[in-house]
């Protein structure tokens, strides 16, 4: 039994402490926008924010998360898909299959909070999530749009 603060709500979850946060979010909290891709911190499909920091939730045990830690998932990024990253993603039709995009959007939102006008090099360094459909070119462009550097 653990308490998790997900998208501003306190949730009781019945899991063993070594359960990855990813699976607690998906299976107990019931928010499935956060995806499983590899389980070994390689692909970023499971990216969420914990206290504002980008985290690959597949390798974070629930036992290591405090009830006061603020977890934000893709569902909590904005209530109306109005986060600048979401708007830029829509404007450039970034997603193909879409499966990786929750993670990509969470990674981009975390980047922009730290670096509101990232350079290409900073985008290269920060955006290391895998997209098997290969939407990288549009992701880069959409980060610039979200940062207000470029028009969509």
């Amino acid at each position: 039994m653990a308490k998790l603060n997900v998208n501003g709500k306190i949730r009781d979850v019945q899991v063993e402490p070594d359960t990855p946060l990813l699976w607690a979010i998906r299976e107990q909290v019931g928010l499935t926008g956060t995806k499983y891709g590899c389980g070994v911190a390689q692909c970023g499909a499971c990216s969420v924010h914990v206290n504002g920091e980008l985290v690959r939730s597949c390798v974070v045990p629930v036992g290591g998360v405090k009830p006061t830690d603020k977890i934000v998932t893709i569902e909590g990024l904005s209530s109306t898909s109005s986060h600048p990253v979401q708007k830029a993603w829509a404007a450039l039709d970034v997603p193909q299959c879409g499966y990786c995009q929750s993670g990509q959007i969470m990674a981009a939102a975390a980047l922009l909070r730290k670096k509101p006008k990232p350079t290409d090099q900073e985008i290269d360094d920060a955006m290391s999530n895998v997209c098997r459909c290969g939407t990288y070119q549009r992701i880069r462009a959409a980060v610039h749009v979200a940062a207000g550097r470029k028009q969509a």
């Binding site: 995806k35 499983y36 997603p95 995009q101 955006m127 939407t135 990288y136």
Partner: protein, 725 residues
């Protein structure tokens, strides 16, 4: 008809690529009697539902896996329907519905880049038929000849009287009319297209941005259990035993299931608990004969095929061997390409619920009718009592087509839990260990040049595994497997070789392995383009001729191939100066009915590190239904192709795959993505595919640029294994 017989025929009919056994008479638009309830909408005919607020719901039969077919097909229907694009929605029909209505929606299988090119005609007729019915209904209401009414964006006008109405208002009356004979319909000239042919935004983006899209992996049903699965890691091995007592009492565990003779699953309340218990379950395997196989034994098996006297002569024109022997200059090379995994981002998964007289399945599939057939066959529930709820795929790339192995497994697990939905999810490790891999091959090539540097003879011998032999050995008796020679055919149409060589011998020596193989985005065009286009580059260099000019000289009889090559060369500024250290490579190939060419700009550092700076890809797919989505597919094909070129390799040791997760099976990431420029040169005289064709030219263009940079040809992949300088 005998039920089992009909099920069997259906299965056979749907399993054959591009097949489609006629099951009864296909009625082009269905009948009002069988119309599907459509909420508050009215089914005008099978393809189009109109709601009171004028929303037009377009039914989609093909699978959406990111390639944009949902939007493209809707554009084609909407174009002929003349509805308001802003009020278009789509609905995925199910294979059970298709079967019940005598396959009114036709083929559902989505592979081979066929989604649009094999259904454009009947979906456009569907849109046009609905328009004609809606106009007729308005004319009937106004008691005027239908020739006096017109429509724009779903608003119907009778100019003479100034009356107006909308599709939503006349839909109910239209649905009662008999649809026109599809053959009587004249489709629009693409020159007049207003919706099709335009870079419309995708219709399916919104729920991919906020986590609300439900993939098959996200299905949640009341009382649902979860299963984790493990098959014998050695292909062909068997399950001997497992010790259930060792995981008894673990939280949430509901049981251990022998899934089939090589596979075991643990079922629990949550997937994480099932997976953790499975990892703790002692399992004994009989690894079988395959355990002695490795990448090295497979390589020598293939090597032997390069020189044996027996091989299938796929093309034999003139006297290639004699011409090469007598040529003033001779070159030779051996190339090889490895097994590759699909690695869809969404791992294989399937949810099944079985009850006494009903079987249901929730799945991501490229072939929903094959899923339905697998569900029925495996569960023993008659087809008409089965249903597949298909979810858009988190990646397909050929993995989720005909095999349906995951559906069969999930059914076997669910059999142990009657009435309870069970969701089976493969771990990434299982996904990498039990793919149907891109087949491995090697290619030995020889060419002869005359004293002017013209290519007088070309001999290629491919030795490698056959997809068809794995699927159905009877299809490829005597080793004659044309599919493995994709891209080298003489006849025009699907995958024609763009060169005319006076003396040409192309042979295939089938060398199968114990590793399961299957189609992988672009299938055999990928390997075959590397062999052809990299060796042509070697020939051009041996001749001392510019790469583009050398190719052009061979392409006089292939104007479409040539036009695309020229388009890539022009946009890629072939022949113009580049920054110091940057080099160009070029390639062209045909597959899936479309012509592709690429120019790559590449540098190789002093340490041998390759950077791809820019790639220009040109594509003639005949009709371009959505240029922006075509560009997206081209961009994606560059990432998929470069992943293969740089990193892709499934190694075999002790009969099993060794690289089971993304830490060892690396993929291209954003930082390595070049700038991609897409040039679409549609000629509007044929319909070609989009999802797959361009991937074939990505790798050879890059390898040829590396050749230009280092002076040495690259003959094996992936690049990460090579010392380039």
């Amino acid at each position: 008809m005998n039920q089992n017989l009909s099920r069997r025929s259906f299965i056979v009919g749907t399993a054959v690529a591009g097949g489609g056994l006629a099951l009864g008479v296909r009625l082009p638009f269905g009948t009002p009697a069988e119309a599907k309830t459509a909420g508050d909408g009215v089914e005008v005919h099978a393809w189009v539902v109109v709601k009171p607020d004028d929303t037009c719901v377009i039914r989609i039969a093909r699978s959406e896996m990111g390639q944009g077919t949902r939007t493209g097909l809707a554009q084609l229907v909407a174009e002929e329907l003349e509805c308001d694009w802003k009020k278009v929605a789509t609905e995925s029909i199910t294979p059970g519905e298709n079967l019940a209505r005598k396959r009114v929606w036709g083929e559902m299988s989505t592979g081979g880049s066929r989604g649009i090119r094999t259904s454009h005609d009947y979906v456009r007729r569907g849109g046009a038929a609905a328009r004609l019915m809606l106009l007729q209904a308005a004319a009937d209401e106004w008691k005027v000849p239908v020739g006096e009414v017109s429509v724009a964006s779903g608003v119907i006008t009778h100019a003479a009287s100034g009356r107006k109405t909308t599709y939503g208002k006349v839909a109910a009356a239209a649905a009662k009319l008999t649809p026109p004979d599809p053959k009587s319909i004249t489709l629009k000239d693409p020159k007049d297209w207003k919706i099709a042919g335009k870079p419309m935004k995708r219709l399916d983006t919104a729920d991919k941005l906020n986590g609300s899209k439900v993939y098959a992996l996200d299905v949640r049903l009341p009382g649902m259990l979860n299963a984790a699965i493990k098959a014998c890691p050695v292909f062909g091995g068997k399950l001997v035993s497992y010790d259930e007592t060792r995981i008894a009492g673990r939280p949430g565990v509901r049981g251990v299931v022998k899934v089939n003779d090589s596979t075991v699953a643990v079922v629990a309340d949550t997937w994480w608990r099932a997976k953790s218990a499975l990892e703790a379950l002692p399992i004994v395997w009989d690894e079988g004969a395959g355990a002695s196989q490795s990448s090295a034994t497979i390589a020598s098996h293939l090597e032997e095929g390069l020189t044996v006297s027996e091989a299938y002569a796929f093309r034999n024109e003139g006297d290639a061997i004699g011409a090469i022997q007598g040529a003033s200059k001779k070159i030779e090379a051996v190339y090889s390409t490895p097994f590759l995994a699909h690695a869809t981002m969404e791992p294989m998964n399937c949810t099944v619920k079985l009850s006494a007289d009903r079987a249901e399945c929730w799945v991501a599939t490229q072939n929903s009718e094959a899923s339905l057939a697998a569900l029925s066959e495996q569960s023993g529930v008659p087809l008409e009592k089965c249903e597949v709820y298909r979810h858009d795929l988190g990646g397909g790339f050929g993995r989720r087509g005909g095999n349906q192995d995951y559906v069969r497994q999930a059914v076997n697990i669910a059999k142990q839990f009657p009435g309870v939905p069970v969701k089976m999810i493969w771990s990434r490790e299982e996904d990498m260990a039990h793919d149907f891999y891109r087949p491995i091959s090697q290619c030995k090539l020889a060419a002869g040049l005359d004293d002017k540097g013209s290519l007088v003879g070309l001999h290629m011998r491919i030795s490698g595994q056959s997809i068809n032999a794995f699927v159905n050995p009877a299809m490829v008796a005597n080793g004659k497997d044309d599919r493995q020679l994709q891209g080298y055919t003489a006849r025009p149409g699907d995958a024609q070789l763009g060169y005319t060589v006076p003396n040409l011998l192309i042979e295939y020596a089938m060398r199968n392995t114990h590793v399961p193989v299957g189609p992988w985005r672009g299938v055999n065009t990928n390997q075959n383009a590397v062999y052809m286009e990299c060796f042509i580059e070697e020939a051009a260099r041996a001749a001392g001729t510019d790469s583009l000019e050398f190719r052009r000289a061979l392409m006089g009889q292939h104007p479409k191939h040539l036009a695309v090559l020229n388009a890539a060369a022009a946009k890629g500024r072939w022949g113009t100066p580049l920054p110091a250290g940057v080099h160009r490579g070029i390639a062209q190939f045909m597959g899936y009915g479309s012509y592709s060419a690429a120019v790559a700009e590449v540098s190789v550092s002093g340490e041998g590190k390759v950077k791809v700076h820019r790639m220009v890809l040109a594509l003639d797919c005949g009709h371009a239904v959505n240029p922006d989505q075509i560009a997206a597919q081209v961009e994606g094909s560059v990432a998929y192709g470069l992943t293969a070129a740089f990193y892709g390799e499934c190694k075999v040791e002790n009969g099993r795959m060794t690289d089971l997760n993304f830490d060892r099976y690396q993929m291209l990431r954003l930082a390595e993505m070049p700038k991609v420029e897409t040039v679409i040169v549609p000629t509007f005289d044929f319909w070609g595919g989009v999802g797959e064709p361009t991937i074939s030219v990505v790798t050879p263009a890059v390898l040829n640029a590396i050749f230009a940079a280092t002076g040495k040809p690259v003959r094996s992949l992936p690049l990460k294994n090579l010392k380039l300088v």
